[in-house]
């Protein structure tokens, strides 16, 4: 009878499909020879149906009201900004260096837009009737309305500059890191990432590479960035970025390479997040090869690879 009691206690989890294969097998084989437990299982199913009957579905009216209220409330909230997606994961040191060129680019954009949308404005202050095309690269510093309704705009002119220096020059490095993320030409991004790979022993460079590996839309750039980080897989920040790639990168080769990078080092230690990422991968990865590599990796560190 105690076997029957144990079996019946598992019925709810059985109906929810939350038992392991061998547990289900044990119940099935017991049910074959126990009509009382079969009847008890029938009652448990009836209980499930009864609970189903109490399901609540919000009315359309309530849903619409919620949506309308939310639509009214949202504009009062601070709008989402784009610059913090990865910033929390990336050190403040690199961020502060990196934001300078980004800020400059934002100002350039403002200046460019201002120039495009204001044809016909007279420009004073010694510039006379300067051709508007000349404003293409202006950095607008301030816009103010004067008492007579005219607008007063303070801007810096954009000037192309060329600098030269060694790779470890701070200015050169800051520009390289900015180009690795912001350059519109993927070829230029790939080139700068390739150069930065040579300095991946520096933490700020690893952060720039991690950003490119996790976020660049171009696979070649992401791959090059990963190549630079493969020797630093014990760095928690790098593992964090690799976990992100493992779960989000659409390219099978990139996902495979993450696991290879982790298995390629003797004494590799995985942090909890990486183990979690590998386990999550087991439940969502379509590619058999990647899944098998993840399974072997989890097995090698004696972590569960089961999916539920």
């Amino acid at each position: 009878m105690s076997e029957c009691k144990n079996i019946r206690e598992q019925f709810a989890l059985l109906l929810y499909g939350e038992l392991k294969f061998d547990e289900e097998e044990r119940i099935d084989s017991h049910l074959d020879g126990c009509p009382e437990c079969r009847a008890a299982l029938g009652r448990q199913k009836a209980l499930h149906d009864a609970v189903d009957a109490a399901a609540v579905t919000p009315s359309r009216v309530l849903l619409n009201r919620c949506r309308e209220e939310l639509a009214e409330l949202l504009p009062r909230e601070k709008p989402a900004s784009s610059w913090t997606l990865w910033w929390h994961q990336i050190g403040a040191n690199w961020k502060s260096q990196f934001l300078k060129p980004v800020g400059a680019m934002a100002l350039l954009a403002v200046g460019f837009v201002a120039a495009k949308i204001t044809p016909g404005w007279n420009v004073s202050g010694g510039l006379g009737s300067m051709d508007l095309a000349n404003f293409g690269g202006a950095q607008v510093r301030n816009v103010a309305t004067e008492p007579d309704g005219r607008l007063r705009i303070v801007f810096d002119e954009k000037r192309e500059r060329t600098i030269s220096g060694s790779r470890d020059d701070q200015q050169i490095r800051a520009l390289l890191m900015a180009a690795a993320k912001e350059a519109t030409d993927p070829g230029l991004r790939a080139q700068t990432v390739t150069i930065l790979v040579g300095d991946a022993n520096e933490a700020d460079v690893r952060e720039a590479l991690a950003f490119a590996m996790a976020n660049d839309e171009n696979t070649t750039v992401r791959l090059k960035a990963m190549e630079g980080l493969e020797r630093y897989t014990n760095d928690p920040m790098v593992q964090n970025a690799l976990a992100h790639v493992l779960l989000n990168d659409p390219n099978t080769g990139m996902r495979t390479r993450v696991i290879d990078a982790l298995t390629g080092h003797e004494g590799q230690e995985l942090d909890r997040q990486m183990v979690g990422a590998l386990q999550e991968l087991m439940s969502r990865e379509d590619d058999h090869d990647v899944r098998e590599r993840a399974r072997q990796m989890l097995h090698s560190i004696k972590a569960s690879a089961e999916t539920y």
């Binding site: 989890l13 929810y16 609970v51 913090t84 990865e285």
Partner: protein, 206 residues
């Protein structure tokens, strides 16, 4: 990479399927239409969970608003460490649990209100979602619903949440653990206790 059942897709207005990750990134860049799509992808299930847990349309509305406002405020801190669905449900379930715990302290029973005709459950006043033709069956269903609601109200907030997420939301125990910040085993034990209590409370109906 991801199985279709697990990868969430939304449909943009022009009809093209969009990867949810792209939608989230667009919303993080301040694209309000992308945020609206995210809301519309999940808001029915959030509202259903809140209504089911709290059994009060007013409280469910509050949880709905607060959930999506918090998502909006904190979207830039979402780092894809877990699925958006898990993150969203973590916020919604915490708000529901807070509300339930406050109720326990205040001994509130928000679904029951006084009316000129006597006490009435507001949830019973809501339109039925299923049309049943058989009056006897309707009566029996009504009795069961009442007893199920009473039995659910007797569960602890955590038992109630785990039961709701598993039974009505169809969420796996592993994910329930992620949402509630606990282990799968703890969620399993919680579900086990909840179902035992439900069986005791509803034994006469089955």
């Amino acid at each position: 990479m991801v199985q279709p059942s697990l990868k969430r897709w939304a449909v943009r207005k022009e009809g093209a399927a969009v990867d949810e990750t792209e939608l989230i990134r667009a919303a993080q860049r301040g694209d309000s239409s992308a945020f609206e799509e995210l809301v519309r992808t999940y808001d029915q299930s959030v509202l259903r969970l809140a209504l089911s847990m709290l059994r009060s349309p007013e409280d469910a509305r509050d949880v709905y608003q607060e959930t999506f406002l918090r998502v909006y405020r904190n979207l830039n801190q979402f780092r894809f460490d877990c699925s958006f669905h898990t993150w969203l449900y973590r916020i919604a379930t915490n708000l529901c649990l807070d509300q339930l715990r406050r109720r326990k302290v205040r001994k509130e029973e928000p679904t029951v209100v006084a009316t000129p005709e006597g006490s009435m459950d507001r949830m019973d006043a809501a339109p039925e979602t299923r049309v049943e033709g058989d009056p006897q069956r309707n009566l029996f269903s009504g009795q069961i619903r009442k007893r199920v609601k009473e039995a659910l109200a007797e569960l602890t907030p955590r038992e109630r949440m785990v039961f709701e997420l598993r039974h009505y939301e169809g969420m796996r125990l592993r994910k329930i653990g992620e949402v509630l910040g606990t282990s799968e085993e703890a969620a399993k034990n919680c579900l086990f206790r909840a179902t035992q209590k439900m069986r005791t409370a509803l034994g006469e109906f089955v």
